[in-house]
C-alpha cells in the first residue's frame, strides 16, 4: 500500500531521536532517585528489556509483510475487535504526543520563556509538526537526517565541555542500591525505550523489511550509548543525591559548564537539542496517529485528519495535567505501567494469538 519508502539508516535515526527526546529530559533524575549512583545499571537493564520489546514488535510485524499495526490487528483479531484495539493504540499515541508537548511547554517556560503562555508554545509546536506530518514519513526521515548530526554534535560538544566538571568517583560505590531499587529505577527508562514499538507502524515503509530486526537493535544500541554517557556525566558532576533532587538534571549539568570565565551559559545549545529532538518525535507520533486513525476509519488518505489530530494533541496537552508536579508524578509512577501494557503486554498477547491461530507468514529466520 505505501508508496513512501525509507531506508535502514533513516529508520534507525528516526527511532533513536524518538527515544532520545523524552529520555534527555527526565532520565537521570527519576532513575537516580531510586537507584542513586547505580542509575547507569538501571539504564542497561532497561535497554536489555527494550530489546525484547523491539524484537516482539518486529516478529509480529514480519508475519504480515506490507501491513502495519492497525492493519494486522484487524486480520488477527477480527474486524471489530481489531478496530477497538487499534483505537486503544491511537489513544496511547495521542497521549505520548500530548505529554511531549506539555513536557516541553512546561520546561521551556520557567527557564527560557518566563512570560509566554503555555498554549502559545504548545500551539507553535503542534503547528510546525503538523506541517512535517503532512509531508509524510519520507519527508520526516530526510529532515531528520539533517537534524540528527546537529543534535548529536551539540550533545557531544556539551559533554566535552562539561568534562572538567566530572569526577567519576561519584559513581562509587557500585551496586550500593539493592536489586529492587535498581529495577525500580529502570522502569521509567524502559517505558521510554519501549516507544521503539513505533517500529510496528514503520515496518511496511522499509525498503528492505528483512533488516527490521537489525534496525531495531541498532537503534537501541545507539540510544543506550548516548544515554549512558549522559547519565554517567551528570552523576559524576553532581553525585547521586543532588542529581536526584533535580527536575531536569541535564539542564543543571549544562549550567555547570564554565571554562576560563569565557565558555559558559550554553543552555541555548541544550534548547536547540531539546527543540529539534522533540520536534522529530512529535512529528512521528502525530503522523502515526493520523495514519492509524485513517486506517481504523477506512479512509484512503490520512492528510485530512491532520488538523483534528493536532487539535486533540493540543487540547490534551493542556488538560491532561494540572501542574508540573502532576506531570512528574504521573511519569514516575503511572506511566511505566500504562506504557508497558501497550509496548509489551498486548504485543506478546498478539504474538501468542498469531502463533496459536497460525496466522501470518512465517516468522523471519533468525539469521536475517
Amino acid at each position: 500500500m505505501p508508496p513512501e519508502k525509507i531506508n535502514g539508516s533513516q529508520a534507525v535515526l528516526l527511532l533513536v531521536i524518538t527515544i532520545f527526546a523524552t529520555v534527555i529530559l527526565f532520565l537521570p533524575g527519576i532513575s537516580a532517585s531510586y537507584a542513586g549512583q547505580d542509575a547507569w545499571i538501571s539504564l542497561l537493564l532497561a535497554a536489555a528489556a527494550a530489546a525484547v520489546i523491539a524484537l516482539t514488535a518486529v516478529s509480529l510485524g514480519r508475519r504480515f509483510p506490507e501491513k502495519n499495526l492497525f492493519e494486522y490487528l484487524e486480520i488477527m483479531l477480527g474486524k471489530i475487535p481489531g478496530k477497538l484495539v487499534g483505537v486503544l493504540y491511537l489513544c496511547w499515541f495521542l497521549y505520548i504526543a500530548a505529554a511531549l508537548v506539555r513536557e516541553y511547554g512546561t520546561f521551556m517556560i520557567p527557564i527560557f520563556f518566563r512570560q509566554t503562555p503555555l498554549v502559545v508554545l504548545a500551539a507553535a509546536g503542534v503547528a510546525a509538526t503538523a506541517y512535517a506530518a503532512y509531508g509524510g514519513l519520507e519527508t520526516l526521515a530526510r529532515a531528520n537526517q539533517l537534524f540528527f548530526p546537529v543534535i548529536v554534535g551539540a550533545s557531544a560538544v556539551l559533554f566535552g565541555l562539561a568534562l572538567p566538571q566530572m569526577d567519576v568517583v561519584n559513581l562509587l560505590p557500585v551496586l550500593e542500591a539493592g536489586p529492587v531499587s535498581i529495577i525500580k529505577g529502570s522502569l521509567a527508562p524502559l517505558s521510554w525505550f519501549g516507544e521503539i514499538f513505533l517500529i510496528s507502524v514503520l515496518l511496511p515503509y522499509l525498503n528492505r523489511p528483512e533488516q527490521a530486526r537489525r534496525i531495531a537493535l541498532t537503534s537501541i544500541l545507539i540510544a543506550t550509548s548516548i544515554f549512558e554517557l549522559s547519565v554517567i556525566g551528570v552523576i559524576s558532576i553532581f553525585g547521586p543525591s543532588v542529581t536526584s533532587s533535580y527536575l531536569l538534571a541535564f539542564l543543571n549539568g549544562v549550567r555547570m559548564i564554565h571554562i576560563a570565565n569565557f565558555i559558559e551559559r550554553l543552555e541555548a545549545l541544550l534548547m536547540l537539542i531539546w527543540i529539534l529532538s522533540a520536534g522529530v518525535k512529535l512529528s512521528m507520533f502525530y503522523w502515526a496517529t493520523a495514519l492509524g486513525s485513517a486506517q481504523v476509519m477506512g479512509l484512503k488518505d490520512y492528510r485530512p485528519l491532520i488538523p483534528p489530530v493536532g487539535a486533540a494533541i493540543l487540547a490534551l496537552s493542556i488538560f491532561n495535567y494540572t501542574s508540573v508536579m502532576d506531570l512528574l508524578n504521573f511519569t514516575a509512577t503511572v506511566w511505566p505501567f500504562y506504557a508497558l501494557t501497550f509496548e509489551l503486554a498486548i504485543p506478546l498477547f498478539l504474538l501468542a494469538v498469531a502463533a496459536i491461530r497460525k496466522i501470518g507468514g512465517k516468522p523471519p529466520c533468525p539469521g536475517r
Binding site: V169, P173, M256
Partner: protein, 395 residues
C-alpha cells in the same frame, strides 16, 4: 505569486517579531552582582543585594574620571520570612526587574550561618536565575556590611571577592560543591571566610579619605557542623584544609634554612596530589593520607648550595614537615575543636566500605574524631627560578 508574497510576509513576521514576548532590555534590568543573607535578632531574614548600575559601568577610556566619582553599584536590602519574601519586598524599592543570572557571590552573615544555612540555600538552588557556580562565603559579622563595601581595583566589591575566590589563593567554594557537602553524610560544608579590613595607603596629602577604606579580604575558612556555622580556621589551618581536600593549587611555603640560622627559603607549589586511603580494622576506622607536592625555589636568603643533592634532600624534608604541620593543625582543629569531618573523608570511606557505611553513616563525625590518622608527605624540588647560585656571595 500570491503564495510567494505570503511566504515573504511570514518570514518577515518571524524575523521582526521574534523574541518580543519575553524581551528584556538592559535598561529595564537590575543585575544582581552579589547577594547577602543575614538573620536579624528576631529571626527575620534580611536579603542584601549589590546591583550593577549599567550607566556607571559604561564610560570606556575617557570616562575614568567620571566613574571615580559615582557609585558603580547600588546596595539595597529588605527583610522577609523567607529569602523569596525578602526579595519580593525589595521590588518595592527597586524600579527594575531583578536579574540573578550574573550573581557572583552569595555571602552569609555570621549569625545567619550559626542558625543554619540549609533553609537559606533553597531559594538559590530552586530558582533558574542564580548559577550553581557562584561563590559561597561567610562574613565575619554582617553580610550586609560586606556587600556595602567597594573595591579600589575592581569595579565592585562583589567582583573583587569573586576574583579573589577564583585565584584559589585562600579556600573558596562554589555553590554546588557547598550543596554537595551539605547533602552528604560523609562531609560537612566549609566556605570562604571574608571580612572587611582597612586597605590602601594614602598617596600624598589630601588623599587619605579616598584611599583608606574597607575592602573585602579573605580571612580563612568557615567550618560548618551540618548546616550550622561551628567556627573558623585561620590562614595556616586553611592551607592544611586545602592540602587535605586535595584542592591545593597555588601557594608559597617558607621554611628556615638548615645551614644559616635565622635565614629563610620560600618555595612555590607547582603540583600537588593528595590521596586518602580509609581502612577498617575491626571496629576502628583509620585513614592513611599521602600528599605529594612539586615545588620551585622562589627565594633564598641563606647561602647553601642548591645544586647539592644533600642540601636538596634536607630542604625537601623541611618543606614536607611544614606541610605536615599545617595538615595536622587543620586536622586537630576539625577533630578536637569542632568534631566534624570537613575533608570529605566520610565520602571516601563510603565508596570503599558500602556495607559498613550503612551502620556508621549517621555517626561518621564521631568515627572521624576517633579515627587513627597517618600522614605521609613527599616533596620534590623541581626547579629554582633563573639563578643556579646566589650572586652576592663574597668568596
Amino acid at each position: 505569486m500570491p503564495g510567494k508574497i505570503i511566504a515573504i510576509a511570514l518570514l518577515l513576521a518571524v524575523i521582526l517579531t521574534g523574541g518580543c514576548w519575553d524581551r528584556r532590555e538592559l535598561s529595564e534590568l537590575a543585575i544582581v552582582l552579589g547577594a547577602g543573607v543575614d538573620r536579624l535578632p528576631g529571626g527575620r531574614i534580611q536579603l542584601t543585594l549589590q546591583l550593577a548600575r549599567p550607566s556607571a559601568f559604561g564610560g570606556g577610556e575617557g570616562g575614568a574620571n567620571v566613574i571615580m566619582n559615582q557609585n558603580i553599584a547600588w546596595v539595597v536590602s529588605a527583610t522577609g520570612e523567607t529569602v523569596s519574601d525578602a526579595q519580593r519586598n525589595l521590588t518595592l524599592q527597586v524600579s527594575r526587574q531583578l536579574i540573578w543570572t550574573h550573581n557572583i557571590v552569595l555571602v552569609f552573615g555570621e549569625s545567619a550561618a550559626r542558625r543554619g544555612v540549609r533553609d537559606l540555600t533553597n531559594f538559590f538552588h530552586r530558582q533558574a536565575g542564580p548559577r550553581e557556580t557562584m561563590w559561597v562565603m561567610v562574613a565575619e559579622g554582617e553580610a550586609k556590611k560586606v556587600l556595602e563595601s567597594h573595591s579600589e581595583l575592581e569595579k565592585t566589591s562583589a567582583q573583587s571577592s569573586g576574583f579573589l575566590a577564583r585565584s584559589r589563593a585562600g579556600f573558596s567554594i562554589e555553590f554546588i560543591n557547598f550543596i554537595k557537602d551539605l547533602a552528604s553524610l560523609g562531609a560537612n560544608p566549609v566556605a570562604a571566610r571574608v571580612k572587611l579590613a582597612r586597605q590602601g595607603e594614602a598617596q600624598g596629602p589630601g588623599m587619605e579619605k579616598k584611599h583608606k577604606h574597607n575592602e573585602v579580604v579573605f580571612a580563612g575558612t568557615a567550618v560548618f557542623n551540618d548546616d550550622r556555622l561551628a567556627g573558623w580556621l585561620d590562614k595556616s589551618e586553611t592551607r592544611g584544609l586545602l592540602w587535605l581536600r586535595g584542592e591545593m593549587e597555588d601557594g608559597v611555603i617558607t621554611v628556615p634554612s638548615a645551614t644559616a640560622p635565622g635565614k629563610k627559603l620560600s618555595f612555590r607549589i607547582t603540583e600537588s596530589k593528595t590521596s586518602v586511603k580509609p581502612s577498617l580494622n575491626g571496629e576502628n576506622v583509620s585513614l592513611h593520607i599521602e600528599i605529594s607536592a612539586d615545588v620551585d625555589l622562589e627565594e633564598q636568603q641563606s647561602t647553601e648550595n642548591i645544586l647539592d643533592p644533600q642540601a636538596i634532600k634536607i630542604l625537601e624534608e623541611r618543606v614536607a614537615e611544614d606541610i605536615e604541620k599545617r595538615c595536622r593543625s587543620a586536622l586537630s582543629k576539625a577533630r578536637d575543636g569542632y568534631g566534624v569531618d570537613i575533608f570529605r573523608f566520610g565520602e571516601l570511606f563510603h565508596r570503599k566500605y558500602k556495607k559498613e557505611w550503612q551502620t556508621i553513616k549517621h555517626r561518621w563525625n564521631e568515627e572521624f574524631v576517633n579515627a587513627e590518622i597517618s600522614l605521609a608527605v613527599k616533596v620534590h624540588l623541581r626547579s629554582m627560578g633563573l639563578q643556579a647560585r646566589r650572586s652576592s656571595l663574597k668568596k
